[in-house]
Symmetry: C2
Subunit: 666 residues, 2 copies
């Protein structure tokens, strides 16, 4: 391919440029080959060890924090693959970021800590048992997300805001404080490590300090025409962002068909994307002409053998290849190059344009392969290039530096794809340390988000929907106002008596997957059938395992149960670690005995009357973070419970199956 492109290169005018030779081809093989091996390794561990580690992980964490406990999403194996897969993926030269995976990594570590370690891998700490309940575990994982962003962007405040705006579904001031605490610790640790690495002991880690792309030296002055240009930039950025989400959704749907065929298909797909990426990043710079180094360059020019603004590539000494400076570089350095100010003429328009198209497309095809991959970096890269193109085009009219336009372009793409506002704003501020640009960044984010919101949802929300996770929005859908709670209650309801036969409980647990069962006291225990409360599966299993059975159906005193079980026996177990009904075995005699459920029933379950508006029931369910909502009858002389609403009963598909005539938008 390189040979074929060679003759058309426009830069042959530059006399002493050597023709592509066999050595360049060998170099490509070495470059592309090592990329391929790294990519295949990443895909292999991802496909065989933890398929859940593929992709960004932010949608899954977001769903988890909404109450969707998807299988193995935060398991130690996922953590392992996320860390090493991300390292391999970034090393393989893909157009992907490490930010999303770091958020997921943070959440996994938090989950591991919240479970008091992992029993499976013999890493346990008993003093971490505090977190044996949903809420504290969720808080801890939110803090893990915040820490991930704080570490990835070296942006502690941005991390807190990301966790607040994008990740968390419930927010309390105590949680804000905990997240802030976490990221403050991250900031201090980062700062200490950077200080320690200042002497160059740790490679590229210490470079740049806490501010990754420092733009603070630039004086930003802008006038009304600039403002108009920036508004236009925001509008087009929003359209590109919305288009990105649209195309990504289509590509992910195609990929999911390929990926479903099994691990070999996943690895093959990754290898194909890797080869395309290598070909682009090695091949496309040949299209650019060599540019003479500027005489007043602050940096060494050309830079050879290290990262920097001016890549030599195939050019003779004293010249640099602008496109190679972008393509043949780490993603971080490419962003730094694009953001750099005072370098208005560094890139040819054609280089920027080719790079933009290539990165936009590569970003789309890379996300979805079986490698941990974040979306921040591709979006920032494409946005910064787009901004720099606009800045270069307007160079004669505008007094703003193209580097600042690159920052605004990145903001417009982030606003257009991710639809975050405050957190992106603060993250960009912490990345660039350019407070003067803040009003402009806010303006661009506003515009691009508004434009893109009129097309589709944010990228993470879209992935949550595509993965079929039953995410509950903070607001009730409009069509729910036309229904009542009783309308969506389905299926045969299984209730237990206050003192129930062991066999009946075991059968119910075996044949259904339900997690909550209403307990009803019936005559002769009470005068009329009366709702006692709700028992959940895991508590039933603990009680059954204790085998506190009775020959006769009589009510026991509650304290008796409490003496038998410790406080932690009923605490929420780590994911995948709870008891299973298959693990319990009972004799026929035991199956005929009785067990008292009063002591373990939640006697204050939240209830709604069957005639309650479904929209209001959904609000109650969502705002209080419930898993089960009991529906009670309105009229007397009926059983004291009509049904149980769970998360799945509020999902749009379920409701539309029940009421096909309902207009989903009204």
């Amino acid at each position: 391919m390189l040979m074929a492109i060679g003759p058309y290169l426009p830069l042959l005018a530059n006399g002493n440029w050597p023709m592509p030779s066999i050595e360049y081809f060998t170099a490509f093989l070495a470059y592309g080959g090592s990329n391929l091996v790294l990519a295949a390794a990443a895909a292999a561990i991802c496909a065989y060890i933890a398929p859940a580690a593929a992709g960004s992980g932010i949608p899954e964490v977001k769903a988890y924090l909404n109450g969707v406990d998807a299988y193995s999403i935060l398991a130690p194996s996922t953590l392992f693959v996320k860390i090493f897969g991300s390292i391999l993926g970034v090393s393989a030269g893909f157009v992907l970021g490490k930010e999303g995976p770091m958020v997921h990594t943070g959440a996994c570590i938090a989950n591991l800590l919240g479970q008091g370690g992992s029993r499976k891998y013999h890493l346990t700490c008993n003093w971490l048992r505090y977190f044996k309940n949903d809420r504290d575990r969720r808080d801890l994982i939110t803090c893990g997300c915040a820490a991930g962003v704080a570490a990835a962007f070296r942006a502690p405040v941005g991390g807190v805001l990301f966790a607040l705006e994008e990740a968390a579904s419930w927010w309390r001031s105590a949680l804000l404080w905990r997240a802030f605490f976490t990221t403050a610790v991250v900031a201090v640790v980062l700062r200490t490590l950077i200080e320690f690495c200042r002497s160059g002991k740790c490679g590229l880690f210490g470079q740049g300090g806490l501010i990754m792309f420092d733009l603070s030296s630039t004086v930003a002055t802008y006038s009304s025409p600039d403002l108009l240009a920036i508004i236009l930039l925001g509008i087009i950025g929003g359209i590109f962002g919305g288009l990105f989400n649209f195309l990504l959704d289509k590509i992910l749907r195609i990929y999911s068909i390929i990926n479903e065929r099994g691990a070999p298909s996943k690895i093959l797909l990754t290898i194909i994307v890797s080869v395309i990426t290598s070909m682009c990043s090695y091949g496309l710079p040949w299209l650019a002409s060599c540019t003479q180094c500027p005489e007043d360059a602050v940096e060494q020019c050309p830079t050879v053998g290290r990262s920097g603004n001016y890549k030599n590539f195939q050019c003779p000494p004293g010249y640099y290849n602008g496109m190679a400076s972008l393509f043949f570089n780490t993603n971080d350095d490419a962003i730094r190059n694009l953001f750099s100010t005072g370098t208005a003429t560094e890139y040819h328009m054609s280089s920027l344009f080719i790079f933009f198209v290539a990165i936009y497309c590569l970003g789309l095809v890379t996300y979805g392969i079986a490698v941990p991959s974040g979306l921040f970096i591709p979006v920032i890269l494409a946005g910064a290039t787009y901004g720099r193109i606009v800045g270069t085009l307007l160079g004669s009219i505008s007094s703003l530096d193209p580097g600042l336009f690159a920052l605004l372009g990145a903001a417009s793409f982030l606003g257009g794809t991710m639809r975050m506002t405050v957190s992106v704003c603060v993250i960009l501020l912490e990345l660039t340390n350019d407070l003067q640009m803040l009003p402009l960044v806010m303006l661009v984010l506003l515009i691009s988000k508004t434009i893109a919101d009129s097309f589709n949802k944010g990228v993470y929300d879209q992935i949550v929907v595509m993965k079929g996770l039953p995410y509950m929005e903070a607001h009730a859908e409009p069509y729910m106002r036309h229904l009542v709670a009783g309308d969506v209650v389905t299926g045969p309801l299984i209730t237990f008596s206050g003192v129930e036969k062991v066999g009946d409980i075991v059968t119910a647990l075996r044949i259904t997957g339900h997690n909550g069962f209403p307990v009803v006291d019936e005559p002769p225990l009470t005068e009329v059938p009366e709702l006692v409360g709700l028992v959940i599966r895991s508590h039933l299993l603990v009680l059954l395992k204790g085998k506190m059975f009775m020959k006769e159906p009589v009510k026991m005193s509650g304290s008796f149960v409490m003496e038998r079980f410790g406080a932690f026996d009923f605490a929420k177990a780590g994911s995948g670690k709870g008891l299973k009904i298959e693990d319990l075995h009972f004799t026929d005699e035991e199956m005929q005995m009785y067990v008292d459920l009063h002591a373990i029933a939640n006697t204050s379950p939240y209830t709604v009357v069957e005639t309650m508006s479904l929209a209001k029931a959904a609000l109650l369910f969502r705002e209080l973070g419930l898993r089960h909502l009991l529906v009670v009858p309105k009229t007397p002389y009926r059983p004291p419970i009509v049904g149980i609403l769970t998360r799945h009963d509020f999902v749009a598909e379920h409701i539309h199956d029940l009421f096909p005539s309902l207009n989903p938008h009204n």
Copy 2:
């Protein structure tokens, strides 16, 4: 008094210093006199026109956003007094800020907009009728708060976070987005105005641009001993902050006794505080010696006739008075002086110490007088002085500039009194543009907040409690777990039939102040008594005003009512603008007629069973932002409603009156 101090001044050593003469005394009279007149004017408009405008306003706005609709807190008269009282108060030289009042001003303007203007003052806009419901009005007022902080500190992101962390009780991502939108507009407008004023047309307004105290040029390097010093600074700052809250509470309780005696007492108190403040700011600088101007001073030294670092005061040319630079200056300039770097030897230790004690005490006695007064400026001033004292003390050991220590000191005081974290952090960042200090600021905030939290509540929460506003915390109190919903239901319950006699409704509305009444259908309308729903007072009044009465108790069709009333008739009226029962008059014949309540009843009220844990009921009430929660019976054959829970039923005092034996902390 000045004469008396004169002979003891330690600076007489400085030969050519003139003795205080009659001219200095005249100058004091002019200075103190104009302060006094301004202060008296501020107190007069506050005491006579809108007493609610006194103080910061943040606690009241916070309570409003929690659902407490205190009288006239957001009325147009309050807005008027807040704006002009704040201008007068700041001009009078008090140790108070304009930040709190600007938050309150923002909230008042938002309220005015949300009501579609003010009918009383003939300012109405019909197109603003969108906000005729609690939620949207609350959102708008939250945005107003954000705009207030954004304008006061020129900190748009800080404004959003302040509204989130301190003001709002419920937060949705849509609200985040709206608040962000508001502050982005504020930032763009501010920026435009500053650009317009750059030529000096607007006095001091354009100075400093968007960053009020720019510290960005400082390079912050710090080592482990610095870190230890900063931790200590945070601990002591937290103690001082907690002490400030404790003393403020005591002083406010004394003041409230004085202020209750009427407007003249309020004005007298304000005048006394004004005289004390004038005496301090004019008298105390005489205690300081004249210092020779540094030769390498960047600024003009001494500064005469304008704001600046080096105040001449009584010193001969070429000399400046350090304490006058702090005292005899605007609060903003004093903060800028304290934050200024590279001026380590500018202030004598004794000057700083006297200033610290004076400002700490003046800040305490000033808040609570009948003048709009914010707490941010006094706290930042005292904190910055404290930090600079620490920095000067450690000058020989630490490599950090005393100006940076002043920033950290301000952070520690803010953390210790206000207990905000993320928002203070971002506000300080936006004020000083010093991203390098962010990890240290976070650390100091963490420490000081933790320390102070172990003593008492944040200052705004404390004022909310002191004012007796029934604020609902986001969490249920521990003692509520020992009670059930039925325990706290009190008073005779007034219920209406589905078709009720007009006379009964009018009587109920006249003799009680209740806002919600359950509607129960009774035989013969239904087989057994059945709960229809809840009607609220304002809807009842609209229905009664329509006089759709019937001779016989029969059920009407709902559509008939809908034809008679427009969609906006039942919308929530502006505060103080709704109908009152006293305004409606009925003939004896009308009183004997019937009215159908089915059409206006909320048929999906949230309900709890009487045996529901009070803690869970409180959570439901708080999270869903309810005003009425119906308690229904658990057992059959009883009336279908046991009682109504309102905000007051969850207040600690009410519960402890009912159950004196309950331990409030368990």
